[in-house]
């Protein structure tokens, strides 16, 4: 890296700035190193920072160890069917950083990224880089979604996002309303109910999945059926596919679904739709949301059965329909029912607050075509970015190969070819 030390001593140039030293950023760093491309990896905290500091205590990966791999690097322990804890994931990623010999500037949060002529300018607190390409590998979970009505909760109720929650012991005494029925919401409702608290779970659209089917892990089936490899340009409704909530799974050898929660005493209500004074209001559409999830599950299992036809793989199974009480609650008086905490398990979105480029849609979401954001600007690790598995650790390999090859080619082009490519990309690749 050359340093241009006259007027702005704290600046440098490089070919590529990679933002984020999680699994995606490191895998891209390995790809760039393998092609001899000068780059820096900027990390706001430590390597695998989110896994170290932004996960609840009991969290484990939803993917089994055999599936948890990065380019040329896989799990080598003695429990291939187990699920890594957050600390183990952090260790896995940190070892990978050592394995690929990555140079990471830790403790270096990015303050701004802007176009600078043909190049980009990336500024951190202490330093500025001029570079020809930027890879945003800062993760899909930077910001926990918290609906605006959280601000109107009664004063006696504490509002907690899934990023702030750690364990049931840290919660104030009293009941808990968990909002959201994806993997996060179900796991939190489960362990909080197990700690002896009254839990209500607000359930909207959700994806029901058993942990195992016909003797194999569900991830094995999803892989075999080609579902995880489905490409972004092959699905009918990509906007919707990217919005699909994470399946109801827990990183353990058991199925965690709404029936399991009901059996634990968790009260299931419809989607949280409003707050009227102290009273939370739920949608009356719960029955249909559950019916829909049951139907989708049955269709998925039909596909798996077709795959299993003629083999000796276990027995065909069907799961009991989701139990919904005759009149699910439409309201919950948070004060009278002594609800002390509302936990928002309402999803996450990436944090691009530092990106000063016109690359967002009318809802503030990053516009990208399979990770191509703008000429020279790439994203990684987003939901269904290039493939359904894009947001998983094992999804990084194919995406990094695709985008990394493109990036290497981009840097090697002559300025005039790059200008033409820029036009083409604007026209939609």
């Amino acid at each position: 890296m050359s340093r241009n030390g006259l007027r702005r001593p704290a600046t440098g140039t490089t070919d590529v700035v990679v933002i984020g030293a999680g699994h995606s950023g490191l895998a891209m760093s390995a790809h760039l190193s393998a092609h001899g491309i000068d780059h820096v990896v900027l990390e706001r905290g430590e390597i695998a920072n989110a896994w170290r500091h932004e996960r609840w205590d009991s969290l484990r990966l939803l993917t089994p160890n055999w599936q948890t791999r990065l380019p040329d690097y896989c799990y080598e322990g003695d429990d291939p069917d187990g699920f890594m804890s957050a600390a183990e994931v952090a260790q896995f990623i940190t070892r990978y950083a050592g394995f690929i010999g990555a140079t990471v500037r830790t403790g270096t949060p990015v303050r701004s990224v802007a176009q600078h002529g043909e190049d980009f300018r990336v500024c951190t607190e202490q330093y500025g880089w001029r570079c020809r390409s930027v890879v945003m590998a800062n993760g899909a979970h930077g910001i926990a979604n918290v609906p605006s009505l959280a601000a109107s909760l009664p004063a006696s109720v504490r509002s907690l996002s899934a990023k702030d929650y750690r364990n049931p012991e840290r919660l104030d005494a009293g009941g808990v309303l968990v909002v959201g029925a994806s993997a996060t919401g179900l796991q939190l409702a489960d362990e909080i109910a197990a700690s002896g608290r009254e839990v209500t779970l607000a359930v909207g659209e959700h994806i029901r999945m058993p942990r195992t089917y016909r003797g194999r892990d569900i991830q094995w089936w999803l892989t075999q059926a080609g579902i995880l490899d489905q490409r972004f340009d092959q699905v009918e409704d990509l906007v919707r596919a990217r919005r699909v909530p994470s399946p109801q799974l827990v990183g353990a050898s058991r199925t965690l679904d709404l029936n399991a929660l009901t059996a634990r005493g968790v009260r299931i209500a419809g989607r949280l739709v409003g707050l009227d004074g102290n009273t939370a209001k739920f949608s009356g559409a719960l029955r249909n949301e559950c019916a829909m999830a049951d139907l989708k599950l049955a269709r998925m299992l039909d596909n798996f059965d077709a795959l299993a036809a003629g083999s000796s793989m276990g027995e065909r199974e069907r799961f009991a329909p989701t139990r919904v009480e005759d009149s699910p609650p439409l309201t919950l008086d948070l004060v009278k029912q002594r609800v002390a905490t509302v936990i928002w398990a309402t999803g996450f979105r990436p944090d691009y607050s530092w990106l000063q480029m016109p690359v967002f849609d009318h809802k503030g979401r990053l516009r990208h075509h399979g990770g191509f954001v703008a000429p020279g600007l790439y994203a990684l690790g987003l939901n269904f970015m290039r493939r359904r598995k894009s947001s998983f650790i094992h999804g990084a390999e194919d995406d990094v190969r695709d985008l990394g090859s493109h990036l290497v080619g981009w840097l090697r082009q002559s300025p005039s070819t790059r200008a033409a490519a820029r036009m083409e990309m604007r026209a939609g690749i």
């Binding site: 419809g270 739709v273 009356g284 559409a285 829909m292 139907l295 049955a298 269709r299 009149s327 009318h362």
Partner: protein, 185 residues
């Protein structure tokens, strides 16, 4: 209507999908306003009409003005000149779900032969009569039963009905709260 596919439920899916794409690209054209007027006739009898609405950025009109009489039945000492207002809610829900079933079926290439919805809504009159303040005025619940004859499996029909609820405006209106502003001019 001439369809290119052999399945014909009388729904122009291409037009609907085209509209979806057009409104994705121009969200302001998606802003619609639905309107109704209602005049008191006598007693509990009123007559409502719908004709004009706003959408695609301009004033629109039905082919003709539609009129609806509403009243209460004789057991409420009324003259029973029309359906009760709450029955109109059932009519709205049923027709919305049914239209959705036809559209989704067309999109999924399912030929419908007959679709019949039967609705029942419970109501405890102690609510509107002010006898018990713990009882709400409105329905305690709504039950919709569909009888559907179509070239499809039971699961496909169940999925049609589920999807029509997911996409239904009236289903959303009755299952979720809506801010209502009533003023006097």
């Amino acid at each position: 209507m001439k369809m290119t596919t052999p399945v014909d439920n009388g729904v122009n899916v291409e037009a609907l999908l085209g509209a979806r794409q057009a409104l994705t690209d121009a969200p302001e054209a998606a802003q619609f306003k639905w309107r109704a007027t209602c005049s008191w006739v006598r007693g509990t009898h009123s007559r409502s009409s719908v004709e004009k609405f706003f959408g695609l950025g301009t004033e629109q009109s039905h082919k003709t003005e539609f009129k609806y009489d509403a009243d209460h039945p004789a057991i409420f000492a009324s003259e029973d000149m029309g359906a009760t207002p709450v029955e109109y809610v059932l009519v709205g829900l049923a027709s919305c779900l049914t239209a959705g079933i036809a559209a989704v079926a067309q999109n999924r290439n399912i030929q419908l032969r007959s679709v019949k919805a039967t609705l029942e809504a419970g109501m405890d009159l102690q609510g509107i009569l002010g006898i018990d303040s713990d009882v709400r005025n409105g329905f305690s619940g709504i039950k919709v039963v569909f009888d559907i004859d179509a070239d499809a499996t039971r699961e496909e029909i169940n999925a049609l009905v589920a999807q029509s609820q997911r996409r239904s405006a009236v289903f959303d209106i009755v299952t979720n709260p809506t801010n209502v502003t009533v003023e006097v001019r």
